[in-house]
Amino acid sequence: MTLLDFARGPGLQWALWIFVFGVTWRIVGAMFLMAKKDLSKARRKKYVADGVRTIITRSVPARSFEKRIRFQHISGYAWHFALFISVLFFAPHILFFESLLGFGWSHLPNTIILFTAAAATAILIALLLRRATHPVQKFISNADDYISIFVVLIPLVTGILAFAHVGARYETLLAIHLLSVEAMLVWFPFGKLMHTAMTMPSRYQAGTSFGHRGIKA
């Protein structure tokens, strides 16, 4: 069995099993941990509107902090946007998802993907350096932050190398790229990457709770 065979087969299967197992564990666990039903009389009963509003209000910076976090804010959005474009609209990636989901979608030209992947890589490196040097960020960061960044950064770098056929034979680069994605899948449920699944539902839940108590936030 070659490295690529392992990465495409058993490695991918194990990574996916761990990913599905871990994500389900975290989500189901969080759902069952939710606070008991609030028995107080509801001040408002517009739960959906409150939930959605909080998702929106928490997705833009508070005015009082805007100047201070502008770099973080803009680069964060730019990074996520570039990552989603690179992951979801590169033709080989779509074929990868299609093999699991059974359906595909249109891809973007490789030139655009290369640009977004390079942008995502550059922004993430900049954010990593900032985290490692900024006194406050450095203080509040732990190993989870750095591991989560690395397991996302490495697939970006190896993906670009595989696309450009630079550094090794294509099948080796592709295998390393797949293995790095698998490492990310394995780490995903156990670290801060879980925010991907948790952020919006928890904002929504907070919004409905606020609404029930008549808090506008």
């Binding site: 069995m1 070659t2 690529l4 065979d5 495409r8 087969g9 991918l12 299967q13 996916l16 099993w17 761990i18 599905v20 197992f21 871990g22 994500v23 389900t24 564990w25 975290r26 989500i27 189901v28 666990g29 969080a30 759902m31 069952f32 941990l33 033709a91 080989p92 990636h93 074929l95 990868f96 299609e98 093999s99 699991l100 891809h107 973007l108 030209p109 490789n110 030139t111 993907i113 056929h165 034979r169 294509y170 099948e171 592709l174 797949l178």
Partner: protein, 354 residues
């Protein structure tokens, strides 16, 4: 037929091959072997003075496609004369002799040229039960061990001989193995492909005739001059890959326009062979040029690497049941850990109240 004491140059002149034609072939051979132009004279001199070496060709678990490809593609070019110029002392398909007479000829050739002959093998060797494939009552395994022990070098022609090929495909009912799994003490050149490109086989033999050594090999024991680059890097459709222009089906507009076949399962990016440069049928075309993706036939276990029409980037995800099982196990653990956490919380509150 060339006499054994005759040099190749003498034989070619007898056959009416001009000096110009011969040098043209030498240039092509030098080019094929990735030699500099300055080596053409050396190739010409070596080939012209070469006496025909003995070649014993053994066919085991194979389909004869390798021989078919070789013989049909080259006659009557000058390459075929190179084949006349070796002493092909034993070849099941091509020899006139049969039965014990044929085996006696093989044994005689092995005795007469001990340590000097080239052993060409096509087909894999069954080891689960030696009796699965025999010739004149001799198992493939025993015949290979015996013939290889007295050979100068072994050329494993075709993916079956080089890597096990189709007979070794899962579940490998005969326990098929490649030549290199059995022969450990002789130089082995793997000329893989299903079938291999004829010019590559003649190129390897020409290298023997020219230098008396085996050519530079890659990590899989294949001549680096022919297997050094992947199909994708030399494919004329590569620009379409770069632009993200892919044929979605074999009869859509992209296919008609000759766009990249990556989405249709082309294995060109992971397949190392000279198809895109040497091409087939006297340089006419190769599978991708004919509109079909590369199936990766010169790579080990190509038969077991997912479907031929599955893209390289498609994952082999395993069963959906296993994924559902992982999700169910996660859900059970999630509920369990939530119950345990609530229980701990309740206990802590109770203790606090006390």
């Amino acid at each position: 037929m060339m006499r054994k004491d005759q040099t190749l140059g003498e034989y070619l002149r007898e056959q009416g091959v001009s000096r110009r034609g011969f040098l043209k072939y030498c240039s092509a051979t030098a080019s094929l072997m990735a030699l500099p132009p300055s080596a053409v004279a050396q190739v010409a001199e070596a080939l012209a003075s070469a006496k025909r070496p003995s070649v014993i060709w053994l066919s085991f678990q194979e389909c004869t496609g390798c021989t078919e490809s070789l013989t049909r593609s080259h006659a009557p070019t000058v390459e075929s004369l190179i084949f006349d110029a070796i002493s092909l002392d034993y070849h099941h398909t091509l020899q006139a002799a049969a039965g014990y007479g044929a085996e006696a000829a093989r044994e005689a050739a092995m005795e007469e040229n001990e340590g000097e002959y080239i052993l060409v093998v096509d087909g894999s060797i069954p080891v689960k039960n030696k009796a699965f494939s025999t010739i004149a009552g001799i198992s493939n395994y025993d015949m290979l061990v015996d013939a290889a022990s007295k050979a100068y070098a072994v050329v494993a022609v075709g993916t079956c001989a080089a890597f096990g090929g189709l007979p070794m495909a899962n579940p490998n009912p005969t326990g098929a193995v490649s030549v290199s799994e059995i022969v450990k003490d002789k130089p082995i050149i793997n000329v893989s492909g299903c079938p291999p490109i004829p010019v590559v086989i003649t190129g390897v033999l020409a290298h023997f005739l020219t230098f008396g050594t085996i050519p530079e090999l890659d990590a899989l024991g294949r001549p680096a001059a022919f297997f050094g680059q992947n199909i994708h890097d030399r494919c004329y459709r590569r620009p379409f890959y770069e632009r993200g222009q892919f044929a979605e089906t074999f009869d859509d507009e992209g296919a008609r326009k000759g766009w990249c076949l990556y989405k249709l399962g082309c294995k060109g990016p992971t397949t190392y062979n000279a198809c895109a440069t040497l091409k087939w049928n006297q340089g006419t075309s190769f599978p991708i040029q004919s509109g079909h993706g590369c199936i990766g036939c010169s790579e080990p276990s190509f038969w077991d690497k997912g479907g031929f029409y599955e893209p390289i980037s498609a994952g082999m995800w395993g069963s959906r049941e296993a994924l559902l099982g992982a999700a169910a196990a996660g859900a059970v653990l999630g509920v369990g850990s939530a119950i345990a956490a609530r229980s701990r919380k309740k206990k802590a509150i109770a203790e606090e109240e006390v």
